[in-house]
């Protein structure tokens, strides 16, 4: 009797012979969807690297990333210019670093406030306001940056820092320009704030309520709970959010092209104009001769390499921290 029962259940679960054909079809579809990502990515990498090859070949990979001179040639068939991408790599890393430096603490603060401190009626509006920031197109950020922020906030703050004792260091020294690494880093910080905040909030919310309540029960203050329970427990989430933010910062184009000064040079100061990898691509590609296009693609390949390295490092950090503290141990 029981045997019959089982077979009936199985029968009803397996469906008719016709319906079973859907199974492999569906599997095939999902497989196509999954592989398409890999195919697209591989095609892009192979294609750009092949196109950029003459430039890497002529300059040498090391020569390309450390060279300081960028003078484009106008040939259609061979590499005649000098292509050193150091000013752009330096600029991209510099502004991304400062953007992260400004945005991460701010994002953690916002996330803690929304999750732990804000009264219930304020939580929703505040959270959606932060998310709204993510929906503003970057060209709008660029314009607001050019016509408002840099004139009334960033430049005065820059002047203040440059005229303080810090200004004696070359790095923070005058002159303070409107188009500068400083302006670009600031606009980036605003642009990457929403994503970092969202991910921080997500991971703070996943800290088991029991642990938080236990800490309160043992007499911990709010500050202590946040510092010693919530933030350490969410470390991998914070790193993950930071990396996503960094990814956006490295790749952001229009706002940077407008605000960094686009001089194709690098400068040791923070308040001076420079250039970045994405900005030189967007500024010069429309006008570029074929060999200059190869060089721009070479910058693209380098940017891809940098993002990959950043991501691998982030994974490593998360992995190491997980090993030491153990996810459940905290």
């Amino acid at each position: 009797m029981s045997a019959t029962d089982t077979s009936t259940t199985k029968e009803s679960l397996r469906g008719s012979g016709r319906a079973r054909r859907a199974d492999p079809i569906f599997r095939g579809l999902v497989l196509v969807a999954a592989t398409s990502v890999l195919v697209v990515l591989a095609a892009m990498i192979i294609r750009t690297t092949l196109d950029a090859w003459p430039v890497f070949d002529a300059m040498g990979f090391w020569g390309f990333i450390s060279g300081q001179q960028w003078s484009v040639g106008h040939s259609r068939s061979e590499v005649t210019g000098t292509y050193g991408a150091f000013p752009f790599i330096y600029g991209t890393l510099k502004i991304s670093f400062f953007a992260i430096l400004a945005a991460v603490p701010l994002a953690i603060g916002i996330a803690l406030f929304i999750n732990e401190i804000a009264p219930a009626w304020l939580k929703r509006p505040l959270a959606s306001t932060v998310e709204l920031l993510a929906m503003v197109p970057s060209v709008v950020y660029a314009l607001v940056g050019i016509y408002f922020f840099r004139l009334y906030i960033w430049e005065p703050v820059g002047q203040f820092i440059a005229s303080s004792p810090l200004g004696n260091l070359t790095f923070f020294g005058p002159p303070v320009l409107l188009s500068s690494y400083w302006s670009a880093a600031n606009i980036l910080a605003i642009m990457i704030l929403p994503i970092i905040t969202a991910i921080c909030r997500e991971s703070f919310a996943q800290v088991p309520r029991d642990e938080v309540n236990a800490a309160y029960a043992m007499g911990a203050t709010r500050w202590e709970v946040m510092r010693k329970v919530i933030v350490p427990r969410s470390f991998s989430g914070i790193v993950g959010g930071t990396m996503l933010g960094l990814g956006r910062a490295l790749g952001e184009t229009i706002a940077i092209a407008f605000l960094i000064g686009a001089s194709q040079r690098w400068a040791p100061q923070l308040f001076f104009g420079g250039d970045a990898m994405t900005s030189v691509i967007v500024n010069t590609f429309a006008d570029a001769a074929p060999e200059a296009i190869w060089a721009l693609l070479a910058i693209g390949v380098t940017l891809f390499l940098i993002t990959t390295i950043v991501n691998v490092l982030a994974r490593l950090i998360v992995y190491r921290v997980g090993q030491f503290s153990g996810d459940a141990a905290l």
Binding site: S71, H74, S179, F258, A262, S263, T284, A286
Partner: protein
């Protein structure tokens, strides 16, 4: 449940058929699309319909391209941003009523698109050098034609309230600069207004000590070409050469497009930027008077920018590849020609006719529009030579 699956399968088939058609269209073989669609007979009728529509669209496109039916065709051009305001007016008002799609992507881009034969005509403030001419001949198997459609000027603008006040106190309208002084600012040799090189040119003005920041174009630009070509010719201390892009000195900054340089110059105190004249007027930015070959400081005006080109008009070579240099008299010295690039062969008749009609109208009838926008039009005997050049379009077989 089963209905849902059938629907999914149908949708999928439709998508595949459509994809197949799209792919074939790219390959430029419209008949293949029909074959493909015919093979998919087990698909829903929708798929066939969609395929037929695609097919029709492809045929229609081809008709337009060979120009069998129409005797005037739409034109596609690309190039200089410098000329864009004027070009748009010409396109809007042209009497032959020809549809022109002009893509304002910069002179370098215009040359590039022209040489890759993606457009009917290119537009640039830099002419093709001998090497590029040689390449061009190989590409199309005939001569590329240059003809001038207007002259424009590049002005040196600046932003410094202190300087404005000092000029006003001295009763002087414009700051006076010469080629060496401009080159000095862009070399970063001159870092303040009260530098002796500038003080010498403005003896009556109590120049302020504002720190100067030279602003250049960050994109490749014909404006840059005119500007650097002038400095290369007239300033002994200029060693960066000339072109649509040069290796600017460290300590300068860039702005994207004329708009970018204008915004930067207007906002950054101490900024010195070079702009297409119309942009400076539009944005009401103060501009410098520039000392010309004869030692006269000349303010840019419509009359003074026309003076330079008319001085050298008789010396313009047959192929119209030239630079306007060494302007003296009452002429403003930083001026340049804007060229249209076209081919002597290989157009469909309708396209060639439309180009001839449009540009003949523009250079003969479009002068007022040019002057309104502060470009110097081509006039007189030179205009006839330009029309002769225009008539060479597609003349060779």
């Amino acid at each position: 449940m089963r209905n849902w699956r059938i629907l999914l399968a149908l949708l999928l088939a439709l998508a595949l058929a459509a994809a197949a058609c799209a792919g074939d269209e790219d390959a430029g073989d419209p008949t293949a699309a029909t074959d493909d669609a015919a093979d998919d007979t087990d698909d829903a009728d929708d798929a066939d319909d969609a395929a037929e529509e695609d097919d029709d669209a492809a045929l229609l496109e081809e008709d337009e391209q060979v120009g069998v039916e129409a005797d005037s065709a739409d034109l596609l051009g690309a190039g200089a941003t410098f000329i864009t305001p004027l070009m748009l007016e010409w396109i809007r008002d042209n009497e032959p009523g020809i549809n022109v799609n002009y893509q304002s992507i910069g002179s370098g881009g215009g040359i590039e698109q022209f040489l890759s034969e993606n457009v009917d005509f290119g537009s640039s403030e830099a002419f093709l050098d001998d090497e590029a001419m040689e390449e061009a001949r190989e590409i199309r198997g005939c001569e590329p034609i240059h003809f001038v459609d207007a002259f424009g000027s590049v002005v040196v603008s600046y932003n410094d309230p202190d300087l404005d006040a000092a000029l006003e106190a001295a009763g002087q309208d414009n700051l006076v600069l010469d080629a060496e002084a401009i080159a000095g600012v862009y070399n970063t040799d001159i870092t303040t207004w009260d530098d002796p090189a500038i003080a010498e040119l403005n003896p009556d003005v109590d120049l302020p000590g504002t720190n100067l920041i030279a602003v250049h174009r960050s994109d490749g630009s014909g404006t840059t070409n005119i500007f650097t070509q002038y400095l290369d010719d007239a300033a002994g201390n200029w060693d960066l050469g000339f072109g649509t892009e040069v290796d600017w000195a460290a300590g300068t900054i860039g702005g994207n497009g004329n708009e970018g340089v204008a915004a930067e110059t207007q906002q950054q105190p101490g900024a010195v930027g070079y702009l297409s004249y119309a942009y400076a007027v539009e944005n009401d930015i103060p501009v410098a008077a520039v000392v010309n070959e004869d030692g006269n400081p000349i303010e840019p005006t419509l009359a003074s920018i026309s003076a330079g080109p008319s001085e050298i008009i008789d010396d313009i070579p047959e192929d119209q590849r030239f630079a306007v240099l060494g302007v003296g008299g009452e002429g403003y010295p930083i001026v340049g020609a804007h060229w249209i690039l076209a081919w002597e062969c290989g157009y469909d008749d309708a396209v060639a006719q439309s180009m001839i009609d449009f540009f003949t109208w523009a250079v003969t009838e479009g002068d007022d529009l040019a002057e309104d926008l502060l470009y110097a039009p081509v006039t007189g005997a030179f205009e006839e030579r330009v029309v002769d050049q225009i008539n060479r379009i597609n003349a060779a077989e």
